[in-house]
Symmetry: C3
Subunit: 329 residues, 3 copies
């Protein structure tokens, strides 16, 4: 990184058009607020146009409409965020741990590890686990028996894959444990966040598709299936036997009830409760946002009268119509 | 499992009536959608009646009303789910780890372990812990000092019992830490999910009753008491000094505020906020479910006008009554 | 503790006025419900005045107004909760683990540890970590490379600091991982709860200010900044690039969306969704509390008609006004 990269090199690496001095060298990547004269940064779109004036960055990655208004050095790219991601990768190529199994990791005898797998300190892999090539498992991850992980996956610290699903049959006021004898199967290029839990299936497999990205502290229930390239943000809970489609985006702290289906290309905004299946692609939401507590208290109290208010409204409409009729005749 | 079980054996094991060929052999258990001719499956109730036609299962466990309409091999049981659980247990009897303490576990000198206890790799048990007979602690569990665990409990990976409760006294704009010197006490037959946290009491004990089942990623605050046979689903947060009764069912991602009581046999549905005590058995709910984002945005905005809308409605009622009176006289 | 403390000693330690016998000895601290004749307990305020009669405690810590009505031994203090905290500290002075690194902890070669640091069993500290003096890290904590922790911090078991932030650029229907090459920086006197996760910044630092207290199972996204002396209760999710001010109190299971700011001295009540910046100190809330399921179902259904109801109300107001006008003329 001492010699940095020329704008020409960065343009080629990101497939961008170059505007300004092709020999200009950038020595680091920085956020638009913090970038200095030796840094490259990016502006994602017109909403942040004001940074064109105020940024101290030596070079910028810009979409064509912003580049047209910019006289400094820049890379012009229809997708500045992706180009930025590729520049960061170029500057910081080796953030992943080296391949190999840390001596404190506890790996069952019959575990199958692909080429280039990295398994961190304190990890525990149960019998029958299979880990695909170039997968990285950070320290203190636990994989229950028979967990299958694809190639090029990343599993962050504290994640637990393959604990028992939550299955109990009521039995004379007590709970009879239903054996959870399935497993967890991850596709290729999956990323699992820190302290996220994915339960093994009761029978069969809990499946996470290729390219799925799960953030931290997410719960995935037993037998749930998540389609390829779906991303889920932190603290979301997905109950058991849920089918989530491909290319979905579920925001943080959503709750998805059991035994329902969400089709492909569905976006669910933060803190939503999904209690019925979603059969059409689109954006879905629930919940209400903060207001001053004094205002909220009144409105929240009214929420619990809502049905009565609606009935009073209907009654008023009826009475007014009667009055209008009388008036007319 | 090579020789499977005859329907007669399964009927006896589950206390079911048998319909069809008592010598018919089942070789595996499968879900109703995936079961094949050598498998036994189950249908829980009339809601899933259509599977009577479509299922490929060799045998079914059915409630009496469905069995009356079924001509194939079946076990007839008023509680098919419980009978199914018992069949799964018969087919897959040994999913629990063997007894013993893994050499990488770190156990304080004075810990008392009952007969048949299994403690997995990477577990850490602090001073004064007591673990009852036949309890299974999966890898990477942490038990703080003086934690007491009953018999036949299961604690899944990543769970932390006995971390300090969240207790701080405001002190000139800063926080003065209140020592948390109590402990955590679990009854018998308790199951604790992966990455669930149960804090030690400030003074005294945080108590989890017999037969309580906690799912993954649940938080139980200090000094909270959970009654026997209560079950709580994933990602629910129970604050400190809460009293939850016996035989309750709390669904996923609920939030239960501190210092309140919930009586026995209460059911709370998913994502509910419990901010006052519940003194009557029954089913309780809060929250709203997803709709299309465009619809939701309008309704959520109206939520913040709800008290004003209610006042306008009351004013309208008054005015209409005046008008009707005038009209009459 | 065998000899206990005299009321005079406790008065001096807590800066309280003494009422009753200064030589009276207390041998333990207990909650107001459980305290016996040899215990000291406390009453925080008038809401709990009835305990003046019923408590069996040998001595009490009371605010002046309650002390005026009490004839037993007591310490009089304007802040009984803080005085109680100091008494507990006196009785139970040594709950923190001894200094030193447990032999099973895995510490990178270049980690810098201050004086008196305690690092528990199974902890993993990546390259470049720096831990300030007298900090205590409980067992099974994971700190990613370059994590900086201040002095006198406490990090509870299962916490993960410095896992990758959740940053992906859409790339032809797939996700291109944006390297997360920043770090996590904790100030002094910070406490981090069990299984809480704090992600490393994409670039730069995720910063937790001095004296910040985070409860269990909290998620802090990449590049977020939390101001000094702010406290956050369990299961709250803070997305990325959030700025939270100083002296804030965020209750449990709140969700704070990305890229927004919360000013100083803001209180957010439990289960709130913060989806816009908060620029004024005060108390903020959202959500609705549980009611009987049958009532809730009707009200929740009406919620999804709220905008229509509001429009019908406006229409009624218009028609009634027309009618009143007609009536007048």
């Amino acid at each position: 990184m001492d010699t940095g990269f020329s704008l020409a090199e960065l343009a080629e690496h990101t497939g961008s058009r170059l505007q300004g001095d092709s020999g200009f060298r950038c020595y680091a990547v920085a956020s638009i607020e913090q970038a200095q004269a030796s840094d490259i940064s990016y502006i994602r779109g017109g909403k942040f146009r004001h940074y064109l004036q105020s940024s101290q960055a030596g070079a910028l990655i810009l979409p064509p409409d912003l580049a047209a208004d910019y006289s400094g050095h820049c890379l012009v790219n229809p997708d500045p965020y992706l180009a930025y991601a590729k520049v960061v990768t170029l500057f910081y190529p080796t953030t992943r741990p080296a391949a190999g199994v840390h001596p404190t990791a506890v790996i069952a005898d019959d575990v199958v590890l692909g080429e280039g797998v990295s398994i961190g300190a304190g990890c525990v892999l149960g019998a029958g686990c299979q880990i695909g090539a170039d997968t990285c498992i950070y320290p203190n991850v636990t994989l229950g028996y028979n967990t299958q992980v694809g190639q090029r996956c990343i599993i962050h610290s504290g994640a637990v894959l393959g604990a028992d699903g939550f299955g109990f049959a009521p039995d004379r006021g007590m709970w009879y444990k239903i054996p959870q004898v399935g497993n967890v199967v991850l596709g290729d290029d999956v990323e699992i966040g820190a302290n996220t839990t994915i339960d093994r299936a009761a029978l069969g497999s809990t499946r996470i598709g290729n390219g799925v990205k799960l953030d931290n502290l997410i719960q995935i229930g037993h037998n749930t299936q998540i389609g390829d390239y779906t991303a889920i943000a932190a603290c979301t809970a997905v109950a058991g036997s849920v089918q989530i489609g491909r290319h979905c985006q579920i925001a943080g702290m959503c709750a998805i009830a059991g035994h329902l289906s969400i089709t492909d290309h569905v976006i669910v905004t933060g803190t939503s409760m999904v209690s019925h299946s979603i059969t059409q692609a689109g954006v879905y939401s629930s919940g209400t946002s903060v207001t001053e507590n004094a205002v909220w208290r009144k409105n929240a109290a009214r929420f619990n009268q809502l049905d009565k208010l609606a009935r009073r409204l209907a009654e008023l409409e009826k009475q007014l119509a009667d009055l209008q009729n009388k008036d007319t005749h």
